[in-house]
Structures are given as structure tokens and as C-alpha cells.
């Protein structure tokens, strides 16, 4: 059997690039996912997540760069790869005129699975769809459709599964169930590569890559991403939050003291690296009191992935501005 240089590597990507007309969707990303990992590609809409996953599955061909799955080249050995991967697209594509049983059987035959009956029972058991096996896919709830799609993806016992935003538009209960299923799959040794716009979900993964505008901003275990910049966060619930943000941004001393201010609804997160938290908290309270801003709650916390992500994106924007020759030396949030 042919194999890649690193036998422990499930997904090995080097400088993968894809452009659509004038926009660069994926700008030369590199990744290395080990076998048995649950890997999350996290980023906002339009960051290049789906394009990346589609290139890895061989649906799109890359403009440049290489991708190897289980040691096989995506471009040169698609037949070897197709047997070993499963792909769950964003829309959970099913045949609505077929029943649950018929859908699974169809995908079994398409994938050349000879004796699919036992595997089907296992999967129906696993997804708890067995009682509904004769129901048409069209008549299933969103969560059941998604589980059925997962079952179809797993019928040929793939070594890697690719899930494109599997929990987008799914209710919270189904979402929790789905994560349980994924955890079981990972226990069984399946490598899972998924994309999500939700940072909280990514924290359940073994490793996370943050992607924006086609570039990987950071790639590490969730904990390391938290402490990536050694930042601390002061969370302030205040009103009116919008005025508070304007006041804080307008103050030169504040801009000097904090790396970033991020607004989440009625909440402001002040991100800083230097000095003590007490000192920083006092500074914020003083400023808001002077400007008639009511502070409901103020506390220190470790940064969430969201904070890190936004900081990283701003850092890059700043770098870009400097490269573009911006004259402003003043730091801006």
C-alpha cells in the first residue's frame, strides 16, 4: 500500500490556494491533522471554510498547493481517497422521496458496500433513528435529517469524515446530541474534520485553526489559543454600551492601556496584556463614572476564543495597514 511520509498524519495540507474570479477564497493554507483527531476550522462566513473542505474532499480542485489524505494525494489518487472518506455537506443532502432505510441503502450501494444490512442496523441504533426507518426523508425534522445524513456519511466506515458546518441552523438539543455522536465516533478512532462559525463548539475539539479571509490566523489546542497572546479580559456590562465604547475609544490613555475593546451586545470586553487587573478595572470605572455611564457588572476573566479571534483579526488588519504604508502611528481598536 502506498502511503505518505508521515503515517500518523490523516490530513496534510501544504500551501493550498483557491481563487474565484478576483477574490482569493483560500490563500495558501497549511495544516497537519493527526489520525484520531477532532479538528475544527473556525471562522466567520466567507472566511474560506467551505472552499477548504471542498478542496480536501476533491469536489473543487485547488489552484496551487498539495493536500494529502491518509498519505494519498487528493489530485492524483482520488479513487483511493473516496473509499476512505465521508463528507457531510452544509445542506445534509438526502433524497427526500426515499425513506431512511432507502437513503442509507442507496449510499451503501453507491459506495460499493456489499453487505450493508448489519452496518445499517448499527448506524440506526447509533443515531436512534431505528423507529423511523420507513419514514420518508422529506418528513423528518431538521435534527433527524442531520442524523440521517451523518448515518449515510458513515455507511462505508470512512477513516476521515468531513463535516461542513454540521450544527448551523440546528436546534440546541439536536446540537448537543450531535456532539455526543461525534465524541463517540472519535472514541472509535475516526478522524473528524469540521468547520463551524461557533467558537464555543470548537472548544470541544482536540485542535482548532482560526481562519479569516482565506488565511490561518492560529492553529493550536483550544487552551493554547486562549493563552496565545497572554492576554487578560475585563468584562463590563454597562449602558448605554454604544456610548461607552465611543468614550473609551476617544480616550488616548485608554488606547495606550488596552490592546482592544470588543463589544458583544450590552457588554464590553477590554483586552490587555500589561499591568495588573485591579489597576485596569479602576481606570475603566473612573472613566465611565466621569461620563455618566452606568456599570452593572465588572469582572476579570480569561479570554474566550471569541476574544482571541477578534484580537487576531484586528492584529492582522493593523499589520496590513502598516504594510499598506498607513501614516497613522496611533493605535486603533
Amino acid at each position: 500500500m502506498k502511503g505518505g511520509s508521515d503515517p500518523g498524519s490523516a490530513i496534510d495540507v501544504e500551501g493550498l490556494t483557491k481563487s474565484f474570479k478576483t477574490t482569493k477564497a483560500v490563500a495558501g493554507i497549511s495544516l497537519d491533522v493527526k489520525r484520531g483527531e477532532m479538528f475544527a476550522l473556525v471562522g466567520p462566513d466567507g472566511a474560506g471554510k467551505t472552499t477548504t473542505i471542498r478542496m480536501l474532499c476533491g469536489i473543487l480542485s485547488a489552484d496551487a498547493g498539495t493536500a494529502r489524505l491518509l498519505g494519498f494525494d487528493v489530485k492524483k489518487e482520488p479513487e483511493q481517497i473516496k473509499k476512505r472518506i465521508g463528507y457531510l455537506s452544509q445542506k445534509f443532502s438526502l433524497y427526500t422521496d426515499l425513506s431512511i432505510d432507502e437513503n442509507i441503502e442507496f449510499f451503501a450501494r453507491i459506495n460499493g458496500v456489499k453487505d450493508f444490512r448489519r452496518r445499517r442496523e448499527e448506524l440506526l441504533e447509533f443515531t436512534r433513528l431505528a423507529p423511523f426507518r420507513n419514514r420518508l426523508a422529506d418528513k423528518l425534522s431538521g435534527g433527524m435529517k442531520q442524523k440521517l445524513a451523518l448515518a449515510c456519511t458513515l455507511i462505508h466506515t470512512p477513516e476521515i469524515i468531513f463535516l461542513d458546518e454540521p450544527t448551523t441552523g440546528v436546534d440546541p438539543v439536536t446540537r448537543r446530541d450531535f456532539w455526543k455522536l461525534l465524541a463517540e465516533l472519535m472514541k472509535g478512532g475516526t478522524t473528524i474534520f469540521l468547520t463551524t462559525p461557533y467558537l464555543d463548539e470548537a472548544e470541544r475539539c482536540t485542535r482548532v485553526a482560526l481562519i479569516d479571509r482565506g488565511e490561518i490566523l492560529a492553529c493550536d489546542v483550544p487552551e493554547a489559543i486562549h493563552s496565545l497572546l497572554g492576554q487578560q479580559v475585563i468584562e463590563v456590562s454597562c449602558s448605554p454600551a454604544r456610548t461607552a465604547l465611543a468614550v473609551a475609544s476617544g480616550d488616548a490613555a485608554m488606547r495606550e492601556r488596552f490592546d482592544d475593546v470588543q463589544m458583544f451586545g450590552e457588554r464590553l470586553d477590554f483586552v490587555f496584556t500589561k499591568g495588573s487587573a485591579e489597576d485596569a478595572t479602576a481606570m475603566i470605572e473612573r472613566l465611565f463614572a466621569d461620563n455618566n455611564i452606568t456599570v452593572a457588572d465588572i469582572r476579570t476573566k480569561t479570554p474566550s476564543l471569541e476574544n482571541v479571534f477578534i484580537s487576531l483579526m484586528r492584529d492582522r488588519a493593523r499589520r496590513d495597514a502598516v504594510e499598506a504604508g498607513a501614516e497613522k502611528e496611533e493605535k486603533q481598536w
Binding site: 479513487e79 473516496k82 452544509q90 443532502s93 432507502e102 441503502e105 450501494r109 453507491i110 460499493g112
Partner: protein
Amino acid sequence: MQPIIALIRKQFIEILTSAQLRSLTLVAPILQLILFGYAASLDVKTLNLAVLDYDRSTESRQLVHDFTNSEYFTLTKYLKNYSEADEVLLDGEDKIVLVIPPKFGADILAHRTTPVQALIDGSDGNTAGIASGYAGGIMASFSQQILLDIQRTTPGGGPHMAQINAQTRVWYNPDLKSRKFFIPGILGLLLLITTVIASSTSIVKEREVGTLEQLIVSPIKPYQIIIGKLAPFVVTASITLMNLLIVAALVFGITMRGNLLLFFLLTLVFLITVLGLGLFISTISKTQQQASFTTSFFVLPPFLFLSGYSFPIENMPLWIQKLTYLVPLRYYLVIVRGIFLKGVGLEELWPQLLAMLGLGVVIFTASFLRFKKNLD
């Protein structure tokens, strides 16, 4: 083989459970053939006739009688003057006005040539031509009758004249019913439209829903996808064809003169082109709606007008005639009409077979390559 069979099975389930596909391939063609079969007729049955008789003699009455006695004209009224003739033609009440001059009877009795005017509404050229032909025929036999009368009444037999007697026999469609010519054409057209729409929308649906992507990531090969998707439509098209043949026979009394098996085989060749077109349309359409829109606006008109379905190809300008060689329906219509009406066989139809096969292979291959390229 297993993946192809799975696809075919799935496709049949989809056709049978989807009300849209079921009615498109099974019910609609039958209804349309019945409807269009009755509607599609250029035959002129009876024309309204008005008479402006300035003479009012026995002879003029005899001429009008000859008109009304023929099954082609119905006398609506006698007119008083010329301006009335103008009116009845303008408002379309009458298609033809017969103007008999004064002294019509006297001239005939005196053995003098006398003119009769027939005013015909020419806004519909086809009807006008037929009306003119009928009127001319009635007047010619009226003249001949006068000559015979003269011969009979003149002592010594009078002058004898040699005459050509044209003995026309119409073959294949003896009553010259245009319906007989049209129904095989409608049959070909319905087969084409339903199959193109059904096949193209069913492929586009897979792309729309995203199942095509699932097929792409599976080990199934593009040619297997195409066979699995299109083979069921060969079956539905055959069923459609069978239904249409039954309707043509039972409703319109038009039965196949030629070999049924040959007809089916040639239809299969035609289906290569048709499914190739369906496949092509699926590659340029993003939604099912777009696919049926493209079919009805870009495929239908050239097939309708350039195939010889509605207008005879011989009457077209030469450069358009050349264009019609690219329309596959052109060949199929010759085949359908030939086998249906004349009962001809392969010895007459092989040029059509070759042309259809050639076009089919080109269209299908090009569409398949396009489909494959779209997958990457």
C-alpha cells in the same frame, strides 16, 4: 454495476413518487396529443359566402346554386350594393363575395364570354388560397356545363374541343387531412419536450439539493452517474411513446403503416440526442426552473420552426434550410411521418438514421464532457 443499478432504482422511485415527474412523463403527453391533435388542422371546411347578384336571371341563380351545393360554401345573404360587399368582408362575417354582373344570363345565352367577380378576404392567406381554388373549380365546371349544353342543343353537335382530363389521386393521406400530417409531428415534439425537461430537471435537482456533491465524493464514476440518471428516462420515454401511439390510433384513427419495431429502434436513436440535450441544459442551469425555462425558450422554438414541424423546409430561404440540418427533430419527423403514413423502411430512412446518430453522438459527447468538467 451495483452503483448504476442503485441509481436507476432510486430514479424510478423518484419518478413514481414525484407528482410532477409522473404527470410530466405519463399523463401530460396524452392530454396534449388529444388537445393539439384536434386543434392542429389547417383544413378549410365551410366558408361563408355572400352574393351580390346584379342580374337575377335563371343562369345567375344556377351559378349560386352550384356554390351552395358544393360542401365548401354556405350562403349567408344577398347583398344590395358594392359597399355592402366591402362591409361584410371587413368585419369578417363572410370570407368570399360573389359579384354577378348584369346581363350575365343574357351573355351566356348569346354565347358571349362574361366575367364573374369573386372577392376574397386575403388576410389569412391559407384560407384565401383554398377559397379561391374552390371558387375557381366551381366556376370552371359551370363553364364546362354551358359548353356541353351548347353542344347538346346545337343541331349537328356544334364545335368539338379536345380536353385534358386530369385524374388526380392523392396517396398516403387521400382526404388531404392536415391532421394526419400533424399528429406524427406532435408525437415527436411531445416526446422531445417531456424527455428533455424531465431529464434536465432531475439532474439539476441533484445539484440544487446537494446530492450530486455526495455522488462526487463517492467512488462512483461520472459515466455511471449519467447512465444511472438517464436510463430511466429511456424507459419513461418509451412508455410515453406507447401511450401516444395508442391515443393516435384510438382517438384519431391514425395507425402505423410501417414496422413498429423499426419505429422504436429509430426512436431510441433519437433519444440519444434528446437526452444529450437534457444533459447539456442541466450543465448550464442552476435551478430546475431555469432548466425548464431554457428548454422552452431556447430548445423549443428552433425545434418547432426549423424542423419542418410547422413550416415546410423547402419553402425556407436557402441559408435557413442549411441551418435545419442541425435540428435533430428534422430527421425524426421524416422518420415518424415516413413510417406512420407511408410505411417506408430502413432502405428509405437510412440517411435520416445516420444524420440523427451523428448529431446524437456529437451532442451527447459534448454534454457529457461539459458535465464532467463541471464536476471538477
